[in-house]
């Protein structure tokens, strides 16, 4: 199963840091997200971008996880030469993760 089937996501940025939320449609799926989508798995998933550190924050009452990815944006929105300088598309890639 892909995350896309049970969760949605939005991505924002600050400097060279990407902030990706992962939100269960059905609150009862939150435990599954918490168990399977660990910080280290997310770091591995985005490792080709150069991500060095991922911190995960849990908001069980909202059925949501919040991931903070350091060095994810090739220098950040104001200096990167990438097409998507903000990394706005990253959350939709995360939803393709198999769990």
């Amino acid at each position: 199963m892909k995350l896309y089937e049970i969760a949605h996501s939005r991505t924002g940025d600050k400097g060279n840091i990407s902030n990706i939320s992962l939100i269960a449609y059905d609150p009862t799926d939150f435990e599954l997200l918490r168990e399977r989508v660990t910080a280290s798995r997310v770091r591995e998933f985005f490792s080709s971008l150069g991500v060095t550190e991922v911190r995960r924050y849990e908001l069980p009452q909202l059925g949501a996880l919040n991931f903070v990815l350091h060095n994810a944006l090739a220098g950040g929105v104001t200096s990167a030469t990438t097409l998507d300088k903000h990394g706005k598309t990253l959350g939709s890639f995360l939803l393709e993760m198999e769990i």
């Binding site: 896309y4 924050y57 030469t81 097409l83 990253l90």
Partner: protein, 447 residues
């Protein structure tokens, strides 16, 4: 003291649409509306414009917006707060006052907040460290073009006490545009951090406008949003304890649901228990959302603690030039032709490779976004080559863009739709400056 306050959101970025804001002002029974129009780099670019023309440097859509919204602000008694002043709040206020006068709107008070420009303080204070890299700010030397502190609610509260109808700022913390009128209406103390945290939540939810009311949310078949083409901008109804609900006007498109609000709640906040602002350290980790009515979501449970004793300062600096060229390939074997084209450009750029940083050769439609997919993606029907790189030398940046265009006659078969651009890069570094080094000023213009 009022029983509740209704505050709307009129813009979520510099170039946002105006029609939904005007509809909200016309029908929303608003007390205040905030227009958040300043991204991280916008003010540095605006400062460059002001250096060229002392009258410029504010949001290019200011006049257009003010011409349409001032009559509505007057008609319905709505206070307007905006950071559209960018690098020139006083110039923006003068322009706004001129528009009001021309429209015959007499007795309007326009406030201009300055003091966020801390370029002198930053230059005179050695030892500041760049937060992103840990390097000394001095290492940027003469490349620095601007430095702006994220001010808090204090100057906005001052302007509200002086009964300003329109308040125009440069850099202030985005939520402050909404927090300040809430504090003013309910008489909250500046050290009532619990309530300030709640008001910060309101500001955070509203500051990106449609992003909480169905914009940036739709995913057909999975997250369907009604009538996205006429998405309504949001408003919050706030109670004296700082809790309240988010909604939008009946008859507009979009959607306000716990899902849309949760996405915006977590947007760019990093640690939900410690969202740093100049006015408080907001705690969103215990926020509860609850919806019993269509397009209405109640929020409660935010908190706060004292802020730090520093302001965050965005320092803009010249960072060379970006050169970018693109060309498309379609139909039979397009992927291999585009790859060959990329290789040809890479070889052409070899003589100047030493003066190019972060050269990227991407295939749009195939591998330009996200983590690398390996070889799993199927061959696309069309693909667009994009070559981009940074250089201190504008001629090298121009060469990157030109070499892609030259693929027309020198590259693989069938390239089409080439485009090229070169732009000076103004990058942003962040530093922390003691609050004691920063003083704000509020000036008023009457019509």
């Amino acid at each position: 003291m009022s029983d509740s306050l209704r505050i709307g959101s009129g813009a979520g970025y510099a170039g946002d649409r105006l029609e939904p804001a005007l509809e909200l002002m016309e029908r929303g029974r608003l007390d205040f509306i905030g227009f958040e129009c300043l991204a991280e780099r916008t003010i540095a670019l605006a400062q460059r414009e002001r250096d060229r023309d002392p009258k410029a440097g504010y949001n290019p859509m200011l006049a257009y917006r003010m011409e349409h919204l001032l009559p509505l602000a007057r008609k319905h008694g709505i206070g307007v707060l905006t950071n559209m002043g960018a690098a020139n709040p006083a110039g923006a206020a003068a322009k706004t006052a001129g528009i009001a006068t021309k429209q015959g709107l007499r007795g309007m008070r326009i406030a201009a907040v300055t003091g966020d420009d801390v370029l002198e303080q930053v230059r005179n204070r050695p030892g500041l460290k760049i937060l992103e890299t840990g390097m000394a700010l001095e290492s940027l030397g003469s490349r620095i073009v601007s430095a702006n502190a994220y001010l808090g609610v204090a100057p906005l509260l001052e302007a509200l006490r002086h009964k300003a109808d329109v308040i125009i700022t440069g850099r202030v913390a985005d939520p402050a545009l909404f927090l300040a009128p809430i504090m003013h209406a309910f008489g909250w103390d500046i050290s009532d951090y619990q309530r300030l945290g709640r008001g910060t939540l309101v500001g955070h939810l509203l500051e990106c406008a449609a992003q909480v009311s169905g914009g940036y949310f739709a995913d057909p078949g999975r997250k369907d949003v009604p009538e996205l083409w006429r998405v309504g901008f949001p408003f919050a109804e706030v109670y004296p304890d700082g809790n309240g609900f988010i909604s939008k006007l009946e008859g507009t498109g979009g959607q306000v649901s716990t899902a849309t609000v949760t996405e915006q709640l977590l947007y760019e906040i990093h640690d939900p228990a410690a969202y740093l602002t100049p006015d408080c350290t907001a705690d969103f980790s215990g926020v509860h959302l609850h919806s019993e009515k269509t397009d209405e979501v109640a929020f409660s449970g935010a908190g706060g603690s004292p802020p730090t004793d520093t302001y965050k300062v965005s320092v803009g600096y010249r960072n060379g030039y970006l050169g970018e060229g693109q060309i498309s390939y379609g139909g039979a074997n397009c992927l291999d032709r585009a790859r060959l084209a990329g290789e040809v450009v890479r070889r052409w750029l070899e003589p100047v490779a030493g003066s190019i940083a972060d050269l990227r050769i991407d295939l749009i439609g195939y591998d330009s976004l996200g983590p690398s997919a390996g070889n799993r993606s199927p061959a696309p029907r069309e693909v667009r080559l994009r070559v981009a790189g940074r250089s201190e030398d504008p001629e090298v940046a121009r060469r990157i863009a030109n070499e892609v265009e030259a693929l027309y006659t020198n590259g693989p078969a069938g390239g089409g739709g080439a485009s090229k651009r070169v732009e000076e890069l103004i990058s942003v570094a962040s530093v922390l400056l003691p609050k004691s080094e920063v003083a704000h000023t509020v000036k008023y213009m009457e019509t």
